[in-house]
């Protein structure tokens, strides 16, 4: 699944950015290659959006180096980038089609080309019949899909999307997921920032996890999951599974209990503790492959396999 072919589309090397006394990004480094979907993860306020803005030259770093398409950002490179920011919006009082044409033209498309491509996109995302409506009259999900069109209509080589699935129903989520996967298959570089870990697991080749402005986890998703394997247990049973030493969290998913473990805690210790308790009944106990959800919680709480 990892596709590090050729030179990186984006190279972030030791970037730092402070706002007053607050250091928003502190020595973050990562590379992103063509043909991969790269996940940027992190809790709210971790520095993800600031890193993206540094990458796209909206902010300039205090230190470190940002290279896009092999060098510093310039006006021509902007035509090769599609960006859907977290703080997204469109001209609410304008009509959908004219707004999308305007955005496409700012990315270097001719009006005829923009119209031609938009017809296909609008039909595919079920917005064609709404193209003459004002944006403020569209539902949140429709506006989200319109944003996706504006991001992709000029066929950018680098796609940066922040929370692409927010506001979408399951049908449209699947549609957008397919579109992102198509972009990867077409050899484009996709950087996706999201809190939906199962989407990251399903789509991303590699990830970087940023916490408190620092890059705390970076690599291929499969490798990371292997590193964290054994650090969670799955239990089928009844009772109260809280209050076990070495267990970071307890939650239920699909009828089973998931218990991410602190680093250095052996699953057997947890089993022994639970077996000795009268308030639980265990029908099945197994060592889980750590989900990205679990890894996220562990890393953010400062627990890593090396600790």
């Amino acid at each position: 699944m990892t596709a590090q072919i050729g030179s990186p589309t984006v190279q972030i090397t030791g970037v730092r950015k402070s706002f007053g006394a607050v250091r928003a990004v502190d020595d973050v480094s990562f590379d992103v290659y063509p043909g991969e979907i790269f996940g940027m993860l992190g809790p709210n306020g971790a520095g993800k959006t600031t890193t993206i803005r540094l990458m796209l030259d909206i902010f300039r770093p205090d230190a470190g180096k940002v290279a896009v398409f092999g060098g510093a950002m310039d006006e021509e490179k902007k035509d090769r980038i599609g960006y859907m920011p977290e703080e997204r919006g469109m001209y609410r009082d304008q009509k959908l089609e004219s707004t999308l044409i305007y955005f496409a033209r700012l990315k270097g498309l001719s009006e005829a080309e923009a119209r031609s491509r938009l017809t296909g996109w609008l039909q595919r995302l079920d917005l064609y019949d709404h193209r003459q409506k004002r944006i403020q009259d569209l539902s949140k999900g429709m506006q989200q899909k319109a944003q996706i069109i504006a991001t992709l209509v000029h066929e950018p080589d680098l796609i940066v999307i922040d929370e692409p699935f927010s506001g979408l129903d399951p049908v449209n989520t699947r549609l957008v997921k397919d579109i992102i996967e198509e972009q990867r298959q077409a050899g484009r570089t996709v950087i996706m920032s999201t809190h939906q870990m199962y989407q990251v697991e399903a789509l991303c080749n590699r990830i970087v996890l940023i916490n408190k402005g620092k890059s705390v986890l970076y690599g291929a998703v499969d490798e990371i999951k292997r590193r964290f394997a054994g650090n969670a247990v799955v239990i089928q049973g009844e009772g109260n599974f809280n209050g076990v030493d070495g267990v970071l969290d307890v939650y239920q998913r699909n009828g089973t209990w998931h218990l991410p473990l602190a680093a250095g805690v052996a699953p057997q210790e947890v089993l022994r503790t639970l077996a000795a308790r009268q308030d639980v009944q265990i029908e099945r106990f197994e060592v889980a492959e750590a989900s990205l959800d679990d890894i996220f919680v562990m890393v953010v709480q400062g627990e890593t396999p090396d600790d």
Binding site: K17, S18, F19, G20, V22, A24, V25, N44, G45, A46, G47, K48, T49, T50, R53, L56, D57, I58, F59, R60, D62, E75, K78, D79, I81, Y83, M84, P85, E86, E87, R88, G89, M90, Y91, R92, Q94, Y102, F103, R105, L106, K107, G108, A150, G213
Partner: protein, 408 residues
């Protein structure tokens, strides 16, 4: 350049489709037409075409009168006959020129309820003046009747100004008003164009499509086109209205387009627009939303319309230190020049100094606007603090505003 053109086109189309633009742009010519029409109506129709009578007890007045006098004057042998005509409704009223008029006795004007029309009274005055000057040569008589008419001439560039031409006073004044309205209307759109990007959260997408400088110059170019459209419509409407009025009445006859003033308008317009646009872009970058921006813009606008508030003082003493100071001050320069244009000859050095100051301020405003906009564009829903603005202007902050969020 293509992207700036796209932004300019987008802003232009958006602005000219606004209801407020259509109302303002078409409303002014309609108002102008109404004023001219009303003036023509007043000048051509007093509303009462009955004659005005007079009883000459001095024997001074000759019976003849100018054929152009309308309504005509009608002599009566005595006041009894005049009174009978008045009661019968045959005359608007009548004058009695008493026998002791030449020794200081006052004439009397008699009427029933409404005083006679002004043009009738003026006709009688002309008749009396002509009779008093009967022994003087016609040339001298004309000079005395018309008063002292002076043409002022500037020694430095030969510009001339007639003292009794009311159009030479009104046209620059209206030109100044239109100019200021056009600049301020565009300023309002400019502010809205910037705050709209912030309020709609489109700034980040725009920032990854073109540079902040391309964005703001594109917006400014589009709204410059809006202002030019407005001025062209207003100017054309004014010229057409005055030309039509010139055919209808003496009041506007002989009107000529003041090309020298038009040249001054053109020269002042670009830097004035750049100054206003720069101020509004910077303001749009600093404020949290358009409502807050409009409140502050209202105060900024005062600096441009200040001459209106000092209208009487400037016209009464057009070469006073106050008028000169406002000619030299960048925001009030053109409007003050326009006000003074019809009543004095504004020295060329004053216009040159005012224009240079305006150009310098415009350049600074655009520079500040580009810097402040770059840092302010991402401050969604929040106002930039003064420290951040100062840091941006000093170049210490590389688009580093982060007032909307600490880190995300």
């Amino acid at each position: 350049m293509i992207k700036q053109w796209q932004v300019a086109k987008h802003e232009y189309v958006k602005a000219v489709r606004r209801r407020s633009f259509i109302l303002t742009t078409l409303g002014f010519p309609l108002l102008f037409a109404a004023i001219i029409g009303f003036s023509v109506l007043l000048a051509t129709n007093s509303g009462d075409d009955r004659p005005l009578g007079y009883v000459d007890e001095t024997g001074l007045l000759v019976a003849s009168q100018s054929a152009a006098d309308s309504p005509p004057l009608q002599p009566f042998d005595n006041e009894t006959a005049a009174r009978a005509a008045l009661d019968a409704g045959n005359v608007q009223g009548y004058y009695v020129l008493p026998a002791g008029y030449l020794t200081g006795q006052q004439p009397r004007l008699v009427y029933l309820t409404e005083p006679p029309a002004d043009d009738a009274k003026q006709a009688f005055s002309r008749l009396v003046r002509a009779a008093l000057l009967a022994d003087v040569s016609p040339e001298v008589s004309n000079r005395l009747q018309n008063g002292l008419s002076v043409t002022m001439q500037s020694a430095d560039d030969g510009r001339e100004l007639g003292s009794d031409d009311f159009l030479s006073f009104l046209v620059p004044l209206f030109a100044g008003m239109f100019y200021v309205f056009a600049v301020l209307t565009s300023a309002g759109y400019m502010l809205q164009a910037v705050t709209t990007e912030k309020e709609n959260r489109t700034v980040e997408v725009m920032a990854t499509s073109l540079s902040p400088l391309q964005l703001i110059t594109g917006k400014a170019a589009g709204l410059f086109g809006v202002a030019m459209t407005q001025l062209t419509i207003w100017g054309t409407a004014a010229v057409v209205a005055l030309a039509i009025a010139g055919v209808a009445t003496d009041l506007f006859r002989g009107f000529q387009i003041p090309w020298s003033l038009m040249a001054v308008v053109v020269i002042y317009f670009v830097p004035s627009f750049a100054l206003v646009a720069g101020i509004m872009i910077a303001l749009g970058g600093v404020v949290a939303d358009s409502q807050q921006g409009q409140q502050i813009a209202g105060i900024v606008n005062l600096f441009f319309v200040m001459p209106f508030f000092l209208f009487a003082a400037i016209l009464a003493r057009p070469d006073s230190p106050l008028a000169v100071a406002m000619t030299l001050f960048p925001t009030t320069a053109f409007l003050t020049v326009a006000m003074r244009w019809g009543v004095t000859i504004v020295p060329a050095w004053q216009m040159a100094v005012g224009l240079v100051g305006l150009v310098i301020c415009a350049v600074i405003a655009v520079w500040v606007a580009a810097r402040v906009f770059r840092i302010g564009m991402l401050s969604y829903g929040q106002r930039l603090d003064w420290r951040t603005v100062r840091a941006a202007l000093s170049g210490r902050n590389n688009a580093g505003s982060k007032t909307s969020e600490v880190a995300s």
